[in-house]
């Protein structure tokens, strides 16, 4: 694709880094917006991911300047993916159907996951809270009862 004028790669890269910074900062600043925190995290995480992917595709991969067949190939494959998603979503998204019920309990799975995180932090004296993202923040929501349950469930839980 030597026939077209190259865009300023450095400019695209700087835009990508700024977008990346916003996506990382999103969950940190979102609580300030109260009820809008969740939509803001979703927009800063996934909206920006789509924007970044577009910039990489269009300018770094030169898809904007490529013959039309290349976008057609990618769109055809992406369309198949959409068919897969919506074809399986009707079953996967529900806990029961006409003749079937998923035996698992989401509440139990959540409690087990909380207990596992809680026990691990207790075992390591919370020393890896900083290492492991926001696990420590998640503990703020835990009730103390989970700590006692956790000792039993830590080794034996194979859930979800």
């Amino acid at each position: 694709m030597a026939g077209h004028k190259h865009p300023s790669y450095l400019k695209i890269y700087i835009i990508l880094v700024v977008l990346f910074s916003i996506s990382v900062a999103g969950p940190e600043i979102a609580p300030v917006f109260g009820a809008f925190a969740k939509p803001i995290v979703l927009i800063t995480a996934f909206g920006i991911a789509i924007w970044k992917a577009y910039l990489v595709c269009a300018y770094f991969m030169h898809l904007k300047f490529e013959k039309i067949y290349a976008p057609y190939i990618l769109l055809a494959c992406f369309s198949l993916l959409i068919v897969f998603f919506f074809g399986t979503a009707t079953d996967a998204m529900f806990a029961n159907g006409h003749n079937w019920v998923k035996p698992q309990s989401e509440e139990a799975a959540t409690e087990e996951a909380k207990a596992r995180s809680h026990v691990l932090h207790a075992e390591h004296g919370d020393s890896h809270e900083g290492d492991h993202g926001e696990a420590g923040h998640g503990d703020a929501d835990h009730d103390e009862a989970n700590h006692e349950e956790g000792d039993d469930s830590h080794d034996s839980d194979e859930h979800n």
């Binding site: 880094v17 995290v41 596992r116 492991h132």
Partner: protein, 193 residues
């Protein structure tokens, strides 16, 4: 009756055959990684609370560093492509090896992250979330490793001898796609908690 097969460098689409093949590879990779991500989303929608708790244990700092390495490596590989169009072997090889170096940073950070998580008890069998985590990031890491090996071969076997310059662009397309996959894995595994 015999047919002579003639390989041409340009397909009927107007796209050189090598690059066209890479586009088809990327198309198939969209289905491989897209299927994984779609399954992840279906599970996440269905098991939101428990998956959020599990996702809170991933290391955002390491994930962010890895995103930065891959974004920067994408810039380096387009610089390699630009240098290859000018038939500048020295600069092309330099940018390719810098890209490989950042791929190495990515793999090193990933190795540290996996080790820490496994030592803390989060293995591929811990729960559905961790199964998806190790499968998706492991498959992605394998693609990064393959890209690094192919780039090293191109730098030392082709560019050094001043031949097959078009391969720089082809491996660049693949590398950008690997970057795009990580652009989506990062918010899914590290941000959405």
């Amino acid at each position: 009756m015999s047919h002579q097969i003639i390989a041409t460098s340009r397909s009927r689409t107007g796209i050189p055959t090598g690059r066209l093949a890479v586009w088809w590879v990327i198309g198939s990779e969209i289905l491989i990684f897209g299927g994984l991500i779609a399954s992840y989303l279906l599970n996440r929608f269905n098991h939101g609370p428990s998956w959020s708790v599990e996702a809170a244990n991933t290391n955002t700092f390491i994930g962010a560093c890895n995103t930065f390495w891959l974004l920067t490596s994408s810039l380096f590989v387009v610089f390699a492509h630009a240098a290859s169009e000018k038939r500048d072997a020295k600069k092309t090889r330099m940018w390719i090896w810098l890209t490989i170096m950042l791929g190495g940073f990515f793999m090193g950070f990933k190795f540290y992250e996996y080790t820490t998580e496994i030592l803390h008890g989060f293995t591929i069998t811990t729960s559905n979330f961790w199964s998806f985590y190790y499968t998706a990031t492991g498959l992605h890491g394998f693609h990064v490793l393959c890209g690094m090996v192919i780039m090293a071969i191109i730098a030392e076997c082709d560019i050094k001898k001043g031949q097959n310059w078009h391969r720089v662009e082809n491996i660049g397309l693949y590398w950008h796609f690997v970057d795009i996959i990580w652009i989506f894995l990062f918010p899914l595994m590290y941000i959405a908690k």
